[in-house]
């Protein structure tokens, strides 16, 4: 069967008479509609998961990439001296915009989520923290560590890379998993539509024989099936996508502690992907049915 661009365009053209030559097929119609509905519903969730994971990865990456912390762990009498020495080193380090020691109140605020607001922080041998803000290009962490070791030996540099990287990696993999799921969903949808189209074509072997008897080309016969399945998939996918969006709206969100689980929403450019789900489902059904029709018509020749 010839499947060039012109033939493909002709296949997509609505032709009421050509569409009527194939009798209504109840079972395969329902199977295609349901498959497209379910797969699009799942695709909306996979897409939302992937986009949310992407946002989290970006946020963690951006927020933490340009900040570091120095921890001064020294005997009580030496903390102030060591802090001052570390700040001196930091002020003369290229790539650092600002460096300042956290106040007691700020350190208390950091610990309060775990120990409560009434923590007697003054009586605890807590290390002094220095917050560092970097330039876009950042600083030479290895060089800074060497200078700190020489001038403020109680200072330990934590550039967040050690624990930031696994988190960003995890979020990135979750994003990748979301896209892989979408790909799997599309493949499964194509397989189901192919099965349904195969069943419909096999059940209509007699119709195909009659059409061939009166001089129908294979492209004409395939078109009648392809249009029907593509339209069903488009309809099912439109309802599935709409239902998925409604379900997403109903998922509770937590804007302040936004993470993957509490930020399953579609935002901005993400809507373009959502809107593309029904036409892409139709396209998948079109290609799958065209493939199935080609094979069945070859077998029946």
């Amino acid at each position: 069967m010839n499947f060039d661009l012109r033939t493909t365009a002709r296949m997509l053209q609505f032709d009421e008479r050509a569409d009527r030559v194939v009798p209504p097929t109840g079972f395969t119609a329902r199977l295609t509609l349901f498959s497209a509905f379910a797969m699009s519903f799942l695709a909306v969730f996979a897409l939302a998961l992937s986009l949310a994971a992407g946002r989290v990865a970006d946020r963690w990456g951006n927020e933490l990439a340009q900040s570091s912390t120095i921890r001064i762990s020294a005997p009580a009498g030496e903390v102030a001296t060591q802090t001052e020495a570390a700040l001196r080193v930091l002020r003369t380090t290229p790539g650092i915009v600002d460096a300042r020691a956290l106040t007691l109140d700020e350190q208390r605020a950091l610990l309060s989520p775990w120990f409560g607001a009434d923590l007697p922080i003054d009586n605890l041998p807590l290390p002094q923290l220095i917050d560092i803000i970097e330039t876009e290009d950042g600083y030479d962490a290895a060089g800074l560590r060497l200078r700190l070791a020489a001038e403020a030996p109680a200072a330990v540099l934590d550039d967040h890379a050690r624990w930031r990287r696994p988190l960003i990696d995890a979020a990135s993999r979750l994003r990748l998993l979301g896209w892989a799921s979408i790909l799997l969903i599309a493949t499964a949808a194509a397989a189901m539509v192919t099965l349904a189209a195969n069943a419909a074509l096999a059940a209509n072997a007699q119709v195909i024989a009659v059409l061939r008897l009166v001089g129908a080309k294979d492209t004409y016969i395939a078109s009648a099936f392809v249009r029907r399945f593509a339209l069903r998939a488009l309809t099912g996918a439109a309802f599935g996508t709409l239902t998925g969006i409604i379900a997403l709206v109903l998922v509770p969100s937590g804007s302040e502690t936004a993470g993957v689980l509490t930020d399953l929403s579609i935002q901005g450019i993400g809507w373009v992907w959502v809107v593309l789900i029904p036409p892409l489902s139709g396209l998948v059904a079109f290609v799958a049915t065209r493939y199935a029709a080609g094979r069945v018509l070859e077998d029946l020749a």
């Binding site: 008479r17 009527r20 030559v21 007699q206 009659v210 059409l211 009166v214 001089g215 080309k217 294979d218």
Partner: protein, 225 residues
Amino acid sequence: MIELENVAYSYGGGELLTDMTLNVAPGSFHFLTGPSGSGKTTFLKLCYGALQATAGHVRLFERDVRGLSRDDVAILRRKIGVVHQDCQFLDHLPVTENVALPLTVSGQDPDGADANLKELLAWVGLTGRANALPPELSGGERQRAALARAVIMSPDVILADEPTGNIDWEMSQRLLTLLVELNRMGKTILIATHDLGLIRAAKAQVQTRVLRISNRRLQMAGADL
């Protein structure tokens, strides 16, 4: 028009037809006889390109079928009207749409040929059954509808496979009259049948040539026909 040159057809390891040579001239009227299972239907299918010969050459309108794509064969088939014993209709479409099917699949507008369609249904005596579904038709009506479908594209050749197999004598005479009428209009007719009465009735009205398939070969039938 239809030429077979040393044609053989094998299926499942056995040769069904062998060394068949025939030239169906334009405007001729042929009958093909032979016992059940002798290969009459297979022979007809070779003649309209539904089957490919396993040896020899089949030429339809001077084109060798072997070198043609399926789409090319489909286009050639529009010049050949076929009437099957079981008629082969689309049961979900009314008679008018079934009769107009060759126009529909060839991209012609059946509404444009509406007058012709009505004339054709009147010619085969089915005006009152135009909106009936095929399962609602009697055997004779089905055969006449199949004949109307076969001629709607004004084909050069009409092939009929046991067209009177499921209908009574009176109806088969009516069908024969239509086929003879088509032959007088210049159409080439080839009918596969084991109905000797039909052949004798045709010989009384028109010059015919009778072929017989015997022992997988094509022969001229004897003078007893």
